[in-house]
């Protein structure tokens, strides 16, 4: 009786909970450190610009007094450490300064542009994962042990070509085919759901090409694993053998390798938004880079960086859900 009473003290739930809590703490810690490194880099970026950034932004003809006033209002005349601290303080409070050119607050500009960029990136992420995993598994099963050589060849060829065409170029081709010629989808802009189709495909296609190839290779490796023989020894149905025993392990391996690629989708939005005149941060970033509007560039680069870090964290969480070993990470 005493034994049974004592048992709940080491209940699996609490024990498991402990591991998840530790994982969450460690992963959050890493995220925060990464964000700090990123913020520091963004701060230093402006100071690494050769010459006077304010002079560069306002142009050679701007009166010296205006330049001085601007410098003072941006705090560029203060000591570096002081600037750094107030920059970090601003980040915490959501104050990213204001544009040199338009005076509009950077946080305001980001607030308007972020939803467009975010929906694009998220949709592409979901599409890339949702298509490449079944595709890779299907091709792996079909082409196992040198079967269906033609299928394998067609798949490898298509994925190499698709993986080579840069997203912005694919966007242009898609616009030409499906918007100009067939007129199935709008040419540009963000309106109804149909306006998402082409930009999301353009952004995700390259990732699908590469991820599905990785998925195929990983699936082939998993199918040869000892535990698959154990699964067959249990005489499970083939479907269960594939879905329950092979798939999670292959997806884990694929995400581990492909996580970086999915983060790349965030950066890819800059080019794709440009093709589709998509109202997001990408266009603003390019314009502000051309106009040397450094506070704006700084803010937007920071946002992109944080998005990339969030995608990586998301991938890590997915990995932890799929593979319990990764919650006991070493770093």
């Amino acid at each position: 009786m005493t034994l049974q009473l004592a048992a709940p003290a080491v209940r699996p739930a609490s024990w498991l909970g402990g591991r998840w809590v530790r994982f969450a703490v460690r992963r959050t810690g890493r995220l925060l450190v990464s964000v700090w490194v990123l913020a520091t880099a963004a701060f230093l970026m402006v100071h690494a610009v050769p010459g006077d950034p304010v002079r560069a932004a306002l142009g050679a003809n701007a009166p010296a007094s205006l330049v001085e006033a601007k410098r003072a209002s941006l705090g560029l005349d203060r000591p570096l450490l002081e600037q750094y601290l107030s920059f970090l303080q601003g980040l915490v409070t959501g104050d990213l300064g204001s544009s040199i050119v338009t005076q509009v607050e950077v946080s305001e500009t980001i607030r308007t542009g972020l939803p467009g960029t975010l929906t694009l990136a998220v949709a592409a992420f979901v599409l890339a994962v949702a298509v490449s995993i079944p595709l890779g598994v299907g091709i792996a099963v079909l082409t196992r042990r040198g079967r269906a050589r033609r299928t394998e060849f067609a798949f490898a060829g298509t994925s190499v070509v698709l993986g080579t065409i840069p997203d912005f170029l694919l966007g242009v081709l898609l616009v030409y085919l499906f918007a100009v010629e067939l007129q199935w989808f709008p040419v540009a802009g963000r309106s109804g759901p149909e306006s998402y189709v082409l930009p999301v495909i353009a952004l995700a296609a390259g990732a699908v090409a590469i991820l599905s190839r990785i998925m195929r290779v990983e699936m082939l490796a998993v199918l040869e694993a000892d535990y698959m023989r154990t699964a067959r020894a249990k005489r499970l149905s083939p479907l269960r053998t594939y879905l329950v025993h092979a798939l999670p392990n292959a997806v884990t391996a694929t995400l581990t390798i492909g996580g970086l690629l999915l983060g790349g989708l965030v950066a890819g939005t800059v080019l794709v938004e440009n093709v589709f005149a998509w109202p997001g941060l990408g266009g603003t970033l390019v314009r502000s880079m051309l106009g040397k509007d450094y506070p704006l560039v700084q803010g937007i680069v920071l946002v992109y960086g944080v998005l990339v870090l969030l995608v990586q964290t998301l991938v890590d969480v997915l990995l932890a859900l799929l593979d319990p070993r990764s919650t006991i990470g070493d770093s």
Binding site: L169, R229, R235
Partner: protein, 621 residues
């Protein structure tokens, strides 16, 4: 090199040749055409005169695309040089700066690699400013960290080698080690990687110029031409798409070459589909109504590979009675494991399994019917490597419960409770907690016990254990063997125990089958192993490791090697290693003869032990 010249590689090199030709000669051939301003014929669409149309100043776009090859390629090349140079510098930093500082450099590299290249490029382009120079610097530097990491990985693998260690101890200076010993060894993969990356660099440049952040007017590269004409996609689509196609062709050239080179390095799985359909003996010819639990007659396993047919099992016949413990011993490559897998129907698809008869518990396993439930509940398997035999992604309990849910139609809870109960049966402590754990939280011995518990989810009539204790240390081995014994007693299960270790088999089994080169060469009671007739069995028994022998290298004492399973010798397969081999042994294959005692042996010269055996048999009668 020959293997690189696949259709893929040839296409790649042909495209590259075309691009290089254009880069060198296009400006002098089409230079005038590309710069001649002809305002009246501005913004024309595609025509026979202007294939891609003309731009806003009436210049021929096709000529401009061709001429732009040089600048596009030049910029990509410079960026690649920067990437490689800085990457090498960073990658070799740990060698020069020592552990501490080098570690810091590599940590920074690791952080940078985690960010998408395009983001780093945009970041650096902000610092270096808009324009071709800034873009070259930004793209080159942004690629440096990943190249540095590749260098670092390659260096680390070379540095671990003996001759570097030798050079170190000999006091050779670090730069000398780097340039004389390390770099020459990693040059090939580095060059390949740089080539492939040149393609990506081209694409990155096109992207940056397309955004207007790269090459500026009046210079033009492909990206800039794209940006210039994108708005014309409605009216003159070719003008908008043409420059892009050039980018893709160039990118493909580098990618195809890279792919071809990478494929020539990689080992391809060249196992082909088996060609011959399994030969079946008509059912009428099979003997029926054997009382044995397992009957195997003339079992063969063939694998067809590109190098020919490999035959790991060549006509094996034996039977196992209910409750009997039968061992199969032999060196690795003798076909013992493959025999076990074939009996269990677990040979993977590349192999063709064929037998005159294969029946288990009264069911004909060759009749093509669905024996999943029978095998799933009555046949338990234990494999050699407990570390890899459980699925790392699922809890132990779930992996056990699955059997009950699939074959015994148990509900989730009932199946789980049974899994916990079975874990307890194999003496796993705290089975409830353990059931919720993952395989990596189990020790090797515990996993092997859990594997037995998995077999106990049903009611096994036969346990096939393939080297179940080889991967375990001695005390754990004993536990697992004891457990096997208990299970046999409680369940009345028979055992087919595969091992290279004669002493373990002697301990566990009633009867021993000795296999060599895919055949059974002797079949005798375990108690009579010391009086065996076959020279191979004798050698195996003599080679039993003693206390002082290295247990990692069992049976190393039998001189010579097993024949390759793809060869089929004319005479006795053991002849080359056999001390008693005669002329006959080399030309005629010995058949497995049944001795009066019921034992079987395949040898032309069973030697003096045979007479001893026969005498014993006489006495018994």
């Amino acid at each position: 090199m020959r293997r690189v010249l696949t259709p893929l590689g040839i296409t790649g090199f042909a495209l590259l040749a075309l691009i290089l030709f254009l880069a060198v000669f296009a400006p002098s051939i089409w230079g005038d055409r590309a710069t001649t301003v002809d305002v009246p014929s501005a913004l024309q669409g595609s025509s026979s005169e202007h294939w891609l149309g003309t731009d806003a100043l009436g210049r021929d776009l096709f000529a401009r695309v061709l001429v732009a090859t040089r600048l596009s390629l030049e910029l990509a090349a410079i960026a690649t040089v920067i990437r490689v140079a800085v990457g090498l510098l960073l990658g070799t930093a740990p060698m020069f700066l020592g552990r501490r500082l080098g570690g810091v450099v590599m940590a920074a590299v690791t952080i940078l690699v985690a960010f998408p290249a395009l983001l780093v490029v945009l970041f650096l382009a902000t610092i270096f400013g808009v324009g071709a120079t800034g873009a070259v610097l930004a793209i080159g530097l942004a690629g440096a960290p990943s190249f540095a990491r590749l260098c670092h990985t390659l260096f680390a693998s070379v540095e671990a080698s003996d001759y570097i260690a030798a050079a170190r101890t000999a006091g050779v200076s670090r730069p000398r080690i780097l340039f004389r010993h390390v770099l020459p060894n990693v040059a090939e993969p580095l060059v390949v990687s740089a080539t492939i990356d040149m393609g990506y660099t081209l694409l990155a440049f096109a992207g940056l110029s397309f955004l207007g952040l790269g090459v500026q007017v009046p210079s033009y590269d492909w990206g800039q031409l794209m940006q210039d004409n994108l708005s014309r996609i409605y009216t003159d689509p070719l003008a908008a798409i043409g420059p892009g196609l050039a980018v893709v062709i160039a990118g493909l050239a580098f990618n195809f070459i890279g792919e071809a080179v990478a494929r020539s390095f990689g080992t391809r799985d060249d196992v082909r589909r088996p060609v011959a359909p399994p030969r079946r003996v008509p059912a009428s010819l099979r003997r029926q109504d054997q009382p044995d639990l397992l009957t195997v007659e003339d079992l063969r396993v063939d694998f067809t590979t590109s190098r020919g047919v490999s035959r790991p099992v060549r006509g094996v016949s034996f039977s196992v009675k209910a409750g009997e413990a039968v061992g199969i011993v032999g060196e690795s490559g003798s076909g013992k494991s493959m025999t076990a897998l074939a009996v269990a129907g677990l040979v993977d698809e590349a192999g063709v399994v064929d037998a005159g008869r294969l029946s288990f518990d009264g069911a004909d396993l060759l009749d093509g019917g669905d024996h999943r439930r029978l095998l799933g509940t009555s046949l338990a398997m234990v494999f050699q490597d407990p570390m890899t035999s459980f699925n790392p992604a699922h809890r132990i309990g779930a992996q056990l419960a699955e059997v009950g849910r699939t074959h015994q139609a148990l509900g989730r809870r009932v199946a789980w409770a049974r899994a916990v109960d079975r874990l307890q049966a194999v003496r796993v402590r705290e089975p409830e907690r353990r059931a919720r754990q993952y395989p990596f939280e189990f020790s090797g011995g515990m996993r092997q016990r859990a594997m037995l518990a998995m077999g106990l989810m049903g009611s096994p009539r036969l346990v096939i254990a393939d080297e179940p204790t080889t991967a375990l240390d001695v005390t754990v081995q004993k536990e697992v063997l004891a457990l096997l014994g208990e299970i046999r007693e409680q369940e009345g299960a028979a055992l087919l125990f595969i091992s290279h270790d004669v002493s373990v088999v002697r301990e566990v089994c009633d009867r021993v089958l000795v296999m060599y080169a895919g055949r059974i060469v002797e079949d005798l009671p375990a108690s009579e192993l010391d009086e065996s007739s076959h020279p191979y069995t004798r050698a195996l028994v003599a080679a039993v490791p003693h206390m002082e022998t290295d247990t990692d290298r069992p049976l190393a004492v039998i001189p010579g090697q097993m024949i390759d399973p793809s060869e089929s010798p004319a005479g006795c397969a053991f002849a080359a290693r056999c001390p008693r081999a005669s002329v006959r042994c080399g030309v005629e294959e010995p058949v497995l003869e049944v001795l009066p005692s019921g034992a079987r042996v395949a040898c032309w010269h069973p030697g003096e032990a045979r007479s001893v055996l026969m005498e014993k048999a006489e006495v018994r009668r």
